[in-house]
Symmetry: C2
Subunit: 462 residues, 2 copies
């Protein structure tokens, strides 16, 4: 018999009486002499399915003694229970034990701390919290693909292994196949990377943006969605060494188009997750973050505000006693400043645009004032910055001058400058850290709890 | 005015007469004294749009002289041309030059070899062949997500950075942030990797399968889709150091379920690409691989065959004079053997199952004969193996014994063995190399031409 997913059963309960087979893991078993109840979870749904069994089962005693975490296949009849807390249950005709769970199973029925669960990352997706977080992660990833594909964007896999440092910033991981104990050396004693796998020294990418720009100059609208790496030795709840990033890039477009795209994408993804993971979000709203649903609804339904950096600084300066970090024109905004703007001043998501060029990357388009660049950050309540983007400098002379000013080597950017020589256009894009988005949607405050097997400074287990 | 994509215009041409704006890159310009024609491509479609312009344009002379590759915005009226080769054209009211293209533009109108195009990977997506290949790549990637999500699979991001070697095989890239010139050393002179970023030596993943199994034991049905790495120093048209892989894993399932899933997925993806990239496939069928469409249709419409390895060997032994490599029970199948089976013997896709355990990975489920394992490879005409999968060994004692036999360290697999201790189930999965799939769908014979910026031994440019 075909297996029925518990999610599909709850979504289409039918009229009752049909015979089905469900397979899953036992969350609890309780029994009296002649009847027993199992809470069964198959991972397709947040909800457990109640299985009722009785002494008609040949293996009643075995089933009644099943350990938490055991896997079973149940064939039985669907019974609608409109008066009960759960709309239906299954009365078992046969229950087959697929795999017993030893009494040492670490997920016995009690609350576990998130810290403890990280030590059993191979088992923790079976818990309510991590299971729900990773289902939301999957649905949100699909929503992102759906959003861009429906608009005709081309999905691009930019390289993970790279010889360049896209942002001119960020600590990188070096990749090598050399024998490090005994590396080949040049005459001056330095390591001869021309003998390495790629014939030179290479790193893991920190951003696919520059390559994404090349693709946007062919396809008009592209997006990337892939892993990105930072070797920053910072042990915070918001930083991982390996995380996924979404980076769209659009041609024939300016900063206003960029903000529209970011707004539409965020609203689309939030709405899609709210429509497709209602049980998960209700759980997070109840147990993790009481204001969650209200906040998400707020974002989906509100207009987004817009301040220039210069306006934002003027506002912040009036409240400078509220902040730990000093506020002045030219300073980088700290999370406390960002949250104040979006939570206290605007009370909704807000784009802050036109930052001083000194605090932004070399490729951002210089504004006519000669001091600021066409950058935009999207700030949202509860988090601060969630998206950072910009219009890119498409003017060859200005971009070349900027590269010189910053002491970068123009020959390293020859192909990037080519994009400005051969049919370059106005264009822009942004980056969205996928884990930050999932933290925002779930209310989970540690990035380690929204990644199946997190990689952070000092930790690469499993 | 909103920009219209050329793809959308061809799909919904309307009644003609409507005013629109299109933006794109000039493929050709020709003009007589008073009228000119531009072939415009915006990357959304394989097709070019014909722009007609005349001396009513203020900048007629400038436009007539435009270099190939220049980017322009055109506002004008749609004119239906049912008699002409193209169903419609646009009569320009204004043409704005977004970015001129210098005369040194490498993609002048003539044929370029694929080898040459690889040297200008930042510009080659603007060509017919590479543009079409990367659009197919994007659509196929989406089809894969759509297929699994519609069936309720959870998309899982397994780690890229790993302390383990999943298959016990495959050369790996080492990752480090140590100063290689002057690494910290232990007393015996060896490098002290406990000082490295993760506190130990780590590599880039060769497969997400083991982690995928942990996730399948929570969600029942999962898939991965992410980059994978092999540091094999092989310079062939079919190997890249960085490639993307899809690895589904299903619980409560055996090898028959695995084959069904593989078959359904392949058929779904091929059909989706045929429905959504008809122009691209027609182009490939005409210029790259004349049997392409017939072969793809064959796969979508045929039943798939099934042979055991033992049956396959018996067939191959009868034709042993046809092969370079010897055939005997226990040998690994070479591409020439695989292609013979699917092209000459079965004349359709065929699953070969139940291989000798010695030539397969440690985690594959031992059959009752004690000699073979529940492995399956899918062979398709024109390629040979495109998918490799297996039922996994869920029995703790047999798996432990196999790990011992192979001299592997059980403590390295402690968490993997846990999955067999706590509610383990029958389960299986497979791996599909995404680039191999794109080569198969497009007929392109070199993996470097289906990856935006390929990474191969000796080459990590851009």
């Amino acid at each position: 018999m075909e297996r029925t997913l518990i999610k599909d059963l709850f979504n289409n309960p039918g009229t009752g009486g049909q015979e089905i087979t469900v397979c899953g893991w036992v969350r609890t078993v309780r029994d009296s002499k002649s009847i027993g109840f199992i809470e069964l979870n198959d991972g397709s749904s947040f909800k457990n399915l109640q299985i009722v069994f009785d002494t008609e089962l040949e293996n009643f005693t075995e089933i009644a003694k099943l350990g938490v975490g055991s896997s079973i296949s149940v064939t039985g009849k669907v019974v609608l229970t409109p008066e009960a807390r759960q709309p239906l249950e299954v009365h078992a005709q046969t229950i087959r034990v697929e795999g017993a769970s030893l009494p040492t199973y670490p997920l016995q029925k009690k609350r576990h701390t998130l810290e403890y669960l990280r030590t059993i990352a191979h088992l923790r997706p079976r818990t309510n919290t991590i299971g729900a977080a990773l289902r939301v992660r999957s649905v949100a990833a699909y929503a992102i693909h759906k959003f861009f594909q429906e608009r005709g964007f081309v999905y691009v896999h930019t390289p993970i292994i790279t010889g360049s440092d896209a942002e001119g910033a960020g600590e990188m991981f070096r990749l090598t196949t050399l024998d490090l104990q005994n590396p080949p050396r040049l005459e001056d004693g330095s390591i001869d990377f021309s003998k390495d796998f790629f014939g030179k020294s290479v790193n893991l990418t920190v951003s696919g943006q520059l390559e994404g720009e090349a693709m946007a100059m062919a396809f008009g609208q592209i997006y990337t969605f892939g892993p990105t790496f930072r070797a920053e030795n910072s042990n915070t709840p918001r930083h991982a060494a390996e995380f996924w990033m979404i980076e769209p890039e659009i041609a024939f477009a300016d900063l206003n188009d960029d903000m529209e795209l970011a707004r539409d994408m965020i609203k689309y993804v939030l709405k899609y997750v709210m429509d497709n993971c209602p049980d998960e979000l209700e759980f997070f709203n109840k147990f993790i973050d009481k204001g969650l649903l209200e906040r998400l609804n707020g974002v989906v339904n509100s207009e987004f505000d817009h301040l220039t950096y210069t306006e934002a600084i003027k506002i912040l300066e009036k409240h400078k006693d509220k902040f730990e970090y000093p506020v002045f024109w030219g300073c980088d905004l700290q999370t406390e400043h960002e949250r104040f703007l979006t939570e206290q001043v605007c009370k909704k998501p807000v784009f802050v645009t036109d930052y001083p060029k000194e605090i932004k990357a070399f490729y951002m388009r210089l504004n006519d004032d000669g001091k600021t660049v066409a950058a935009m950050d999207l700030l949202v309540p509860g988090v601060g910055e969630i998206i950072g983007g910009s219009q890119r400098e498409e003017r060859l002379d200005i971009l070349s001058k900027r590269i010189d000013e910053l002491g970068m080597r123009k020959e390293d950017y020859a192909w990037y400058l080519d994009l400005r020589r051969f049919g370059g256009t106005r264009h822009c894009g942004f980056g969205l850290g996928f884990e930050r988005l999932i933290m925002y949607i779930t209310g989970i405050s540690n990035i380690r709890d929204v990644i199946p097997f997190p990689r952070t400074a000092g930790s690469a287990e499993f």
